[in-house]
Amino acid sequence: MRLHFLLLRSLLRNLFRLLSPLPFLLLQASSFAQIQQPVLGIMHDGNAALRPVYGIAASATLGGVAVENVDAFSCAHSQCFVQTLGSLWMYDSSGSRSILDSISGPVPMALTNDGVLLYSSQTGELLRWNPINGWASSTLPTTSDHTILAFKPAGDGIDAAVRRDDGLWMEHLAADASITTFSAIPEDAENPVRAICLLDDGYLIATGHAVSLVRSDGSAQEFAIGGVRSFSAMSDSAVEAESSQGNWIFEQDAGKIRVSLLPGVEPAQTAPAGEVAE
């Protein structure tokens, strides 16, 4: 509180002195500032646990274990959706959690502005959740040779990276049962795609020897990071790539992407039977 008060007093002294002559703008006497340790996001460590990551990407430090036995996760908008041992949990910024549904095994998951989407490529069922309306489902078109690798909400349906018999494609699956294929995802048969992550502007794609950022305008940028097996959203602006050589953070800022190695942890001796460390 004292920090805030001092900052407030300092700011106000200057604000009133300098801005008060302005005819159209008056800054009120309640200006204040806060200084915090920055949180880059949440990462999935090598022991299947979630940990907060502090600092800046290239010089980050790890916090303690927040959740254990995590199969998959996705964090954004101050929320994390976590699949642990067959259950889906939501964690808010205060650390409190609530169970959302019982699901069997990891399923593709995408975040919306206020909730989460789950999609079953077997049934075509798209589950939407938000704190106001709870669960709602709709059915999207399915075909037997489609396997959704990743998706993101788009209109009343989803944009999805789909593996078909004839390769990898970006498609839009709409609630009216239509499927629109709008681009092919390049793939080398000898070096197949292992993981993909859809971004607002393009996608990240991982092969055995590299990760590529492909933007919507078709431009691409390659990073020599091999062995990536999955992508997860760490925060609004960061994606974690888990690989056999360590975990990496892809941080987006003002159209640029920065890549850094995330701090590693010692392998756990034994997997705890418990489910959540709170």
Binding site: L3, L6, L11, L26, Q28, S31, Q37, V39, S59, L261
Partner: protein, 457 residues
């Protein structure tokens, strides 16, 4: 029972018991029975010989040793047990006899243990003296000749000289060397004329990095030979970084090579140390090997290779943290050792505040500015906010704010680096939509940093 009866019983017991004492000599774990005569053998003039004896009670009754005596010159007890000495059935009593003769002649003495008597014999002979040339040392007071430390698989030859200071010829026999690491080409016997000497080589070969012992027998004298094999130190390490200039907030790679091939398969650790430039912080834990979040990484190097593998890789990633200072890498090869400088340091210079993200937004009550970054000098405090209208014209003069005290409080006791997230709210009374953008200038002891103009959406 009266006193006479008691006395008779005691004498009877003693007489029976004496017949049950068996004498022997003891050398290590070897016992050699002694009957009526025991010879100490030839002893060089000026030398001392110690012989350990053991009296064993082989009867089923207790034996009390009431007499332990020596008669004759040259022989003395060394550390006698207290007499009387009671030996339980199956037990024993040890004692040591020391012989040292002052003249070249034959010696004899009587050893008495209770009623058992043994004649001791010894012969003092004139013996040539043994010396060794550098780099060997000795013989010392324990008759030990040291070959010192020899690199594994290497050999060291020392010259042994035997001098006959007597006035008559000496036959030196035997001449022998034992021990797997030691050998000599010298014949097994030699004649040494009066006043002259002979020399011969003794070779020590260290087949492994361990201690070796052997013996050199030169006539009546026997010497212990010692030598130690050791691994050659690894040659001086060459630390290589992916860049010559480093700044805070970066990740870099370290690779290490040896200046010459490793003579052995070796392993050890490379440690990372950090000394902040600022006295206001003690450390920055983000300065670390990133892959393990630690400041030590194990390494291996194969025999014949110069490549130092760290955690099995040719290079290792480390973070420079967010604090100016000196990062030092030190290689420790443990018992193998390192020749040359085992450390390398890199300096991370103080720099103006680096802003990693900046944002401007509108909130219900006004304007919100978010800045994140780090100040590796820990001196941040002066901020200047320059507001612009929607036409790009400046709104008055920039607003200065001194947040030094706030940042000092924030950094107090901080050991995880200087990164910060500043959230500044500017409540507005009026038409806040007329404020189109803002530029923020932050100043620390190393200079100023200015954001690009951020637009309020």
């Amino acid at each position: 029972m009266n006193r006479l009866t008691l006395t008779c019983l005691f004498l009877l017991t003693a007489a029976v018991a004496n017949a049950q004492l068996a004498l022997s000599t003891v050398a290590g774990t070897t016992q050699t029975p002694v009957t009526t005569v025991y010879g100490f053998g030839q002893i060089a003039l000026g030398d001392v010989k110690l012989v350990s004896f053991r009296a064993v009670n082989s009867s089923s009754a207790t034996v009390t040793v009431t007499k332990l005596a020596l008669s004759g010159s040259g022989f003395t007890f060394s550390g006698n047990p207290p007499i009387p000495y009671i030996i339980a059935p199956g037990g024993h009593m040890d004692f040591t006899i020391r012989f040292a003769g002052s003249t070249v002649t034959n010696y004899s003495a009587s050893l008495q243990v209770n009623t058992q008597i043994v004649t001791l014999l010894a012969s003092v002979v004139s013996a040539p003296t043994v010396s060794v040339a550098s780099p060997c040392t000795g013989p010392d007071s324990e008759s030990t000749i040291s070959f010192g430390r020899v690199q594994q698989a290497a050999s060291l030859i020392c010259t042994v000289t035997v001098t006959n200071a007597q006035t008559q010829q000496v036959t030196l026999s035997p001449i022998s060397v034992t021990g797997s690491a030691f050998n000599t080409s010298q014949a097994s016997a030699a004649f040494i004329p009066p006043g002259q000497s002979i020399s011969f080589p003794v070779k020590f070969t260290a087949s492994s990095a361990t201690a070796f012992t052997g013996t050199l027998t030169a006539g009546v004298r026997t010497y212990t030979l010692t030598g130690t094999g050791f691994n050659a130190p690894l040659s001086s390490p060459q630390f290589t970084f992916d860049t010559s200039t480093m700044s805070s907030g970066e990740q870099h790679t370290l690779a290490v090579k040896l200046s010459s091939a490793s003579p052995v398969a070796a392993s050890g650790n490379i440690t990372l140390g950090f000394k902040p430039a600022s006295a206001s912080v003690a450390d920055d834990s983000a300065v670390q090997f990133v892959g393990t979040s630690k400041r030590v990484v194990s390494f291996t190097v194969a025999q014949g290779s110069t490549n130092v593998l760290m955690n099995g890789q040719n290079s290792v990633v480390f973070s420079t943290g967010t604090t100016a200072g000196v990062i030092t890498f030190t290689i420790d090869a443990g018992a193998y050792g390192i020749s040359g400088d085992a450390s390398a340091s890199i300096a991370v210079a103080p720099a103006p505040t680096l802003l990693t993200a900046a944002g401007a937004s509108r909130v219900a009550t006004g304007l919100k500015i978010t800045l994140s970054g780090f100040d590796n000098t820990y001196s941040l405090g002066t901020f200047s906010f320059a507001f612009f209208d929607r036409n790009g014209s400046a709104i008055g003069s920039p607003i200065a704010a001194n947040l030094s005290t706030n940042f000092q409080s924030f950094y107090q006791g901080q050991t995880a680096g200087s990164s910060f997230l500043l959230l500044a709210n500017f409540p507005v009374n009026g038409d806040a939509t007329q404020v189109g953008g803002v530029e923020v200038t932050v100043t620390n002891s190393a200079g100023s940093t200015r954001t690009q103009r951020m637009s309020f959406p």
